[in-house]
Symmetry: C2
Subunit: 294 residues, 2 copies
């Protein structure tokens, strides 16, 4: 709040005009959980199960063979190239509109095994409040994720109030085709990857065209984008979510395979970035259960 | 105005919520002139002249040799690959901030040979009014250009009131480097090309994530994006600027090398898209000369 007050008080040296109030957020582990596995991978796995019924030949080749035999846990052992192979198959072969419907239908019913709630209810309440607070102060917030922009865009508007055009991430590409209702976009098995780590600042330059003054992340994959934001010539706020709450959510940092937080944590301490300790600092973790929920 | 009224009147079947009021505009030939040559190429040519003083070896190799010998006119004879070679050299080797400063300095002084005015004053007054009108009606307007987003972003905010994050186009890519003030982005000699024609709809999907309900262009390079917008499941407005005014601007269409308008013109006639005939329909072409101008 000190930072926001500083950059929004007109006539002071730190005042930042509305147009330059760009805030960026990581998604997995920053706005919703990423343990025990990235939620998009659960979607891709479920979709792969359906697909292999229609295309049984997929069961004969890697990495599909291992995943269909080893189950969801096998997804966590794949390297980046293998993940991309899975995404290529799971997220192509339909129109962009059809893909969005498939994701929306999945999100409406698939539930987290531990918490028993649909994933869009497992977003972090304090982060929603932070997004609202920034919006109120005329910041424009973007999601910048190494995961699928095409996946996140389906729920970001309703869940975070962040419109599709403010979601950056990897995506399966599309091609213009002529369908029965005229031109449409068909998703093809080709992935444009937004690389974590040093890849995030160039992607922000490509899509947004200016350096953010506010960045929030939770892992070493956000290290460079946080450093780059902290070094903004005018002013930069940097926040880091530390997952310390095994009881209400998860506790992991330096030794985790998913969302490892090691070098970025050292940097945050050394540079006095704002570290949010989930167990200590958050009264509530997830959005409250709604009374009307079925 | 009929269209805007239709989609903004609540309670009617054609009402479109604010979030979905996405409008896209081509830049060259739609918002400012593209004759006798794309303005960004004049910038690249001027920059090449400076660069070859520092790097005379460039004068020995193609396509630089032809361009430095043939002058600006030689730029119009280059193919797409050669243009990319020029852009790679002219628009890399400095930080993203330095590049923006170089463009801004050039735009402040370089004048159009025929009209004797700086280029940002040669934008079309009726299109500025259209942008304002859409803004007033809660549309979000984007520029989608095959030319350089990194170039257009420098003046789009002040000139069109379109912020950098709403400008899509080709761009030289950047890489994170450590400078004396910490991390910065260095532009590298690698171009991410936004292809004209059938490449525009997939680029819009990649960056914006939804189909526009409003599109304005002026050449066959906009054909597919206009067809795709016209086929929007809810409603779509499509406009085409026809350059018919050799006296006040330029007159060209089916036989032009720059901004050829042939197939898209036939489509516009056949589908009753809105065609703006510059000579007939525009009282004013360029922004009025300011009294304070030096």
């Amino acid at each position: 709040m000190d930072f926001v007050k500083r950059v929004t008080t007109e006539g002071t040296p730190n005042f930042v005009p509305e147009a330059d109030r760009i805030a960026i957020f990581d998604n997995d582990g920053t706005l919703w959980p990423e343990q025990p596995i990235c939620i998009q991978f659960i979607f891709a796995f479920d979709r792969l199960k359906s697909l292999t019924r229609i295309r049984p030949e997929l069961r004969q080749i890697e990495p599909f063979l291992s995943v269909m035999e080893g189950g969801l846990n096998a997804m966590t052992t794949l390297d980046a190239t293998e993940i991309v192979e899975i995404i290529k198959v799971a997220q192509s072969g339909m129109s962009t509109e059809q893909f969005s419907s498939i994701v929306a239908e999945w999100l409406a019913v698939a539930k987290d095994l531990r918490f028993g709630r649909v994933y869009t209810e497992l977003v972090y309440q304090p982060m929603l409040e932070l997004l609202d607070y920034l919006r109120l102060n005329r910041f424009k917030s973007f999601i910048v994720s190494g995961a699928g922009a095409d996946f996140i865009r389906v729920f970001a508007e309703r869940t975070y109030r962040i419109p599709p055009e403010q979601v950056l991430g990897s995506t399966t590409l599309s091609e213009l085709r002529w369908g029965k209702d005229g031109p449409m976009l068909m998703k093809i098995p080709q992935v444009d990857v937004l690389d974590e780590g040093p890849g995030k600042p160039p992607a922000i330059d490509r899509f947004i065209g200016r350096r953010p003054i506010f960045a929030f992340g939770n892992s070493d994959g956000d290290k460079e984008v946080l450093q780059w934001t902290a070094a903004h010539p005018l002013t930069g706020f940097v926040g880091l979510l530390h997952h310390t709450d095994a009881e209400r959510e998860w506790a992991y940092d330096r030794d985790s395979n998913v969302g490892r937080l090691d070098e970025a944590l050292d940097l945050a301490c050394a540079n006095q970035w704002t570290i949010v300790d989930m167990a200590r600092d958050w009264n509530t973790v997830f959005t409250p259960e709604r009374a009307t929920e079925t």
